[in-house]
Amino acid sequence: MDFNDTPEEATFRAEVRRFLEAHATRKKAGEPAQKVRYLEGPEALGKAKAWQAVKADAGFVGITWDTRWGGRGGTAIQQVIYDQEEAHFDLPKGYFEIGLGMCIPTLIAYAAPEQCERYVRPAMRGDEIWCQLFSEPSAGSDVAGLQTRAERDGDDWVVNGQKIWTSGAHLADYGLLLARTDPAVPKHAGLTAFFLDMRSPGVEVRRIKQIAGSAQFNEVFFTDVRIPDAQRLGAVGAGWQVALTTLMNERLAVGSAPGPDSEDILRLARLATMDGQPAIRNAAVRARLADWYVQTEGLRYTRFRTMTKLSRGQAPGPEASIGKIVSATKLQEIASFGIDLLGMAGIVMDPRLAPMEAWFQHAMLYAPGSRIAGGTDEILRNIVAERVLGLPPDVRVDKAAPFNQLPRG
């Protein structure tokens, strides 16, 4: 066992570091690992786009993608190395992950070459933003139960329905859409995938204000929206297979939930006072800290195990699936405990008064989202149980019946 790069990996890491040192600012020690608000305002978006273009032009976007579309043609381990190095720098995040992590890989897998030619590069540079239009009001965890209809009309499809929880739809130029093209067959067989211009007539985006007060996701309404058949991805009725490509990429893209971690709660426990001395001296506090340390380090070394497999050119093992299950709940617990450490003043969010820029209070408010987005805790446990442990699937009443005969509500 060792933690060293292979000579090729070391060369790549050095190249990444040179690039980052030249173009970005290193995070200061002792600062929150990620700023609370990055996603707000046109100024933030402008900064993010500018950075994305620099990064893409230097060849660090689409590291594993085909060179035909402007990718580097590199390896998964190079992507991990890049991400590790970038994490040390203070950079805008949150606009392009869905497009580059999920939509564009799906496009590369299913779209015509001239479409890849047209769309991949602008997405890489941040010139165009993509969103993913899968979830609906009555199709969340059960996304294959979606009801948005696409009906064939000449060379076009006409789409009617509603999507929800669409992150970044208010900023998006294009969207990856999953719609029902045949309600008379069982639900997984009646879906088809498309991409569309988000400025098409009949598309209406309404922002949804979240618990934490910001509005990063949206409802998207479709009223007689026309999509050319040329923008269909995969065969008619094969949308579920296309969606699985997207979601598989999501599994690799979704890492730990960002927010205060064990090092940060340690810092707060030193700042906060309990019974006239630093809270860190309290035995009950120390026991909790130890638990989180074990989880944080366990996840870190789990990622190293996955990296080892990638470094050997193998697929990630089943261990890679535990990250979000552990980190989302840990985030919620750390945030809540951090607030408790401040006692009666724990509720205060005024950044002049709340320690560490009210990071724990903000995290408490957004943490519930981490346990839901990208697969709820419950769905992820089902996936581990069925795909990793090989337990039998749940008995399903909806798998064989035509979709239009299923009960709704």
Binding site: M1, F3, N4, V294, I322, D394
Partner: protein
Amino acid sequence: MNFDFSEDLNVLRDQARRFLDDRCPPAAVRNVLEGDLPFDQPLWEAIAELGWPAAAIPEEYGGIGLGHEALCVLAEEVGRALAPIPYSSSVYLAAEAILLHGSEAQRQHFLPQLASGARIGTFALAEGPGNPAGEAITARYGNGALSGEKWPVPDGSIADVGLVAARDEAGSIVICIVDLKGPGVTRTTLETLDPSRDQAQLRFDSAPAECLGSGPVSWGEVEHLLDRAAVPLAFEQLGGASVCLEMATAYARERHAFGRPIGSFQAIKHKLADMFVANELARSNAYYGAWALASNAVELPLAASAARLSAIKAFEYASRENIQTHGGMGFTWDMDCHLFYRRAKLLSGALGSSSYWQERLVSHWESC
């Protein structure tokens, strides 16, 4: 990045697993659990023949010098099989103590005996209830004689060589080597939660003893010994936890209730997924511990504490929920679930329970 065991060690693991599947099935564990024998002596002799006790002992002292990563690989297999042998006492503790603190003459004399398995060693620290603490050591050593009482001492009824923590006439901590079959030693086998492993109460009445090395050791050095043993012990726990998950998964697939396999119910699925998560965290922490142990890293106290805590949690959880998944059958003497349930709790307390390791972890983390 190479955060995995080498191909050679994977081969060693496969060989060890096949060997123990054959020589140490649950029936062999039950033989000790239900019988009068304190350990499986033929099994001990067979693994000695294979060189397992010698794995991490340098060649100059009669070992085979495979190193501590190999030791961790073997420990996981010993843990999977619940092997009723004094491997941890003799190898992770006694041999390590002599290697670290013994004089050259003591190493030359004792290590080849422990490496060959001809003699069994143990480390006697506890003097009744409580976690490891320097203040709790009251056994006295002076003028070549040891007096005091130690319990529970793992493998205390069967060990030949005792490494005993005591205080010298100046009140400093020393580790004594005592011939446990010699005069002045009274051994009483203890009834415990897990009778598949031996535990004893040892009484020393001016038992002839010699001090390990040149004299006193610090409490920190004793804790370092515990750190070094905690890593392979975590692998034993991980092995046990893995088997519990395998048992529960297999049962959940074949057992039917309400017209379907119980493993198709989410209540069971989520429980087993949680076992998987805990086991993977424990495995990752244990791997880091193995790296720190094998490379003598300064991170060892933190790495060992995290490995130990993660392993305690995983094995206790897996062994409990394995019984729960098996329902009424899991509660019977004839099912093997309780063998793991017992062993999990035995290993949780060995080397100090969670609260000791939590404190050890945080105190080192604070000073990072």
